[in-house]
Amino acid sequence: MSILGRAALLLALVGAIYVVVMSLASRRPGRRSWELSAERGVYAVFAFTTLAALTMWFALVTDSFELRNVAEYSSTTLSTPYKLTALWGSQAGSLLLWAWILSGFSAVVVYTNRARNRQLMPVVMAVLMGIAIFFLGVLSFVTSPFETLAQAPAEGRGLNPLLQNVYMQIHPPLLYLGYVGLSVPFAFAMAALVTRKLDTAWITSVRRWTIVSWIFLGAGILVGAKWAYETLGWGGYWAWDPVENAAFMPWLVATAFLHSVMVQERRGMLKVWNMVLVIMTFSLCLFGTFLTRSGIIASVHAFGESTLGPFFLVFIVAVLVGSVALLVTRLPLLRSAHSLESYLSREAIFLFNNLLLVGLAFAVFWGTMFPILSEAARGRRITVGQGYYEQVATPIAIALLVLTGVGPLIAWRKSSAAQLRRRFVVPLAVAAASIVPLALLTDMTSNWAASAVAVAGVFVVACITGEFWRGMRVRHALGGVSWPGALVGMVARNRRRYGGYIVHLAIVVLFIGLAGSKGFATQADVALRPGDRATVAGYTLLNEGATRGADAHKSTTSVKIGVFRGGDRVGTLYPGVITYTLDETRASQVAIKSGPQRDLYLFLSQLQDDGLARISVFVNPLVSWIWFAGVMIVAGGLLAGWPSRPSGRREPAGSPASDGRAAA
């Protein structure tokens, strides 16, 4: 097993080196066969990394404890799905997953571009395989997932209980799909710089990759937040943990890129800035991987101490120095086709949006790195608390929220004052009118940030609803179709635009969920003997006695809590503690009653023999809005990135129609 896995990784490494050499050499005229060979080399690298991944999965499923990775992260008592996901429970296994996804994406890139981007593709392949060489080198020579033990134990240590959760089964792969996917735009950007082919071809080729990777990364972040919420027992979902930040930063910069790329497509502007964003995004993806693996930070999400840090650091520096140097040498070729004509234009709004997103990413970076920098400079680690992040992020987030409504209503190039008045009167009036019911019916006035988010949210919804309404009205009038038909036709004809609007609406839902749950949460600790009651934020909790259950893998001790509201029983919750048979490790069993208005969240901190249960009670308003926003973001993103049907191509006079090799 070990030999098979190690050999597969070594062969993948050799294959990746071959691709880099052959693809770069193939750039000379008359060497198409070299390029074809390099393309096949990419498929071979994918085949070998697939073989390595399958070998590791086989070892996990068959309890091959002679492999250290299996002995330390799996056990005979684990169910098969958890054995499979134990692959990314370990440092080396997660790097194998990285390399496998990268090689798979590289194969897809090569396949979908086999008849296009011929000048770019050799360099694209070289860059992607260059990245693969780093990961395969680390897997082959630094931390092998196929390392064997001198003596195989009879039983493995099992998977960390915190990872035995359905969200943890999908959170890491989602993040890696996002991280790795963002290496494709980087590879195309570098190829455009190397080949000096700096028209919009590379932008067109990476737009869909960026959207899909952005969706994966965003979904991964939200699934990780849900895991934290349902597993860790502190009542929250986001703690500005360094590893959470590590995934959030590239997502922010990728969001900036998705907006600024439209300015380059439409107006030929921000070419250098887009290159900078692509380089930053990919570097931050590597930085996130470095943070999780270097052991320089302590986090529930991070792997333990390791020797990988210096390798990652050198690689990140090499990527940054190489790509920035290349960019500097090409600056004269990246002059904008136009200049900013007015600050009241869509491109100006996108620029502001970019500055805010990158500014927020920098603030998060600074907060993440400050403890490390302070320790290096003064020998004392100064921790940056949530207060710093919330102080910085809140005003930026509110400004970004407002821009999500303003941007779509402002025309490219310039908007006249009369135009702005006409467009914004209704949304502003609706937002102003919403203040009264919000103040009367909610607690919003007690929290300025939540109030601002709510009013800005109403404004954005009014702006976007107006856009949908006006578009439908035009199509309805033009085509004589029904109103639903007008809506469907309008969205189908411009998926990118209306998919983007759905994402903007999702951002409103997300922000309202964040504002509600951050600004109006109630927390109380109660001690209940059997038959005792306690009331927290309108919920009455009744201790109805302890319950116990067990299977071969774990035993669960919980307390049955009857939940009443307004005198009616609204549910029963079982907060408890799970004890794993194998090593007596414990994990909390958080009990949540979730609803659109609020979550009741119970965490059992102690259950005494006499039945006294000490419970932390959290009442978190609007948390489920956050998860719903995640679904909307994925739906809107998919709509925006979904391939369009090839439009009717114009047939040039006197020449045959296009060669039929449609763009992938």
Binding site: I3, L4, A7, L11, S33, G41, A411, V474, R497
Partner: protein, 95 residues
Amino acid sequence: MLAGILIVAAVALAVVAAVGWPLVTHRADDPVEDPAADARRAVDEDLQRALEAIREIDMDHRAGNLSDEDFAELDAAERARAVELMRRADELAAP
């Protein structure tokens, strides 16, 4: 162990053959790539974007997002760009 070695050896041989095949079968009369193909595709994609922009500007105007003056200016600029791209596409398509 032997089975593992045999599997790897078999896969490696097959892969080497597949990867090396284009080098072995390369002939001097292999069709020369059309260097203008990428340029044509890029112009075509730019043209599609310009046509999309014209449709979008028209939609914005009809929806009331653009005044008549702004529409006239933006539409004329985008149409001029589309015409220029069509001209370039025709040039590139010419034998």
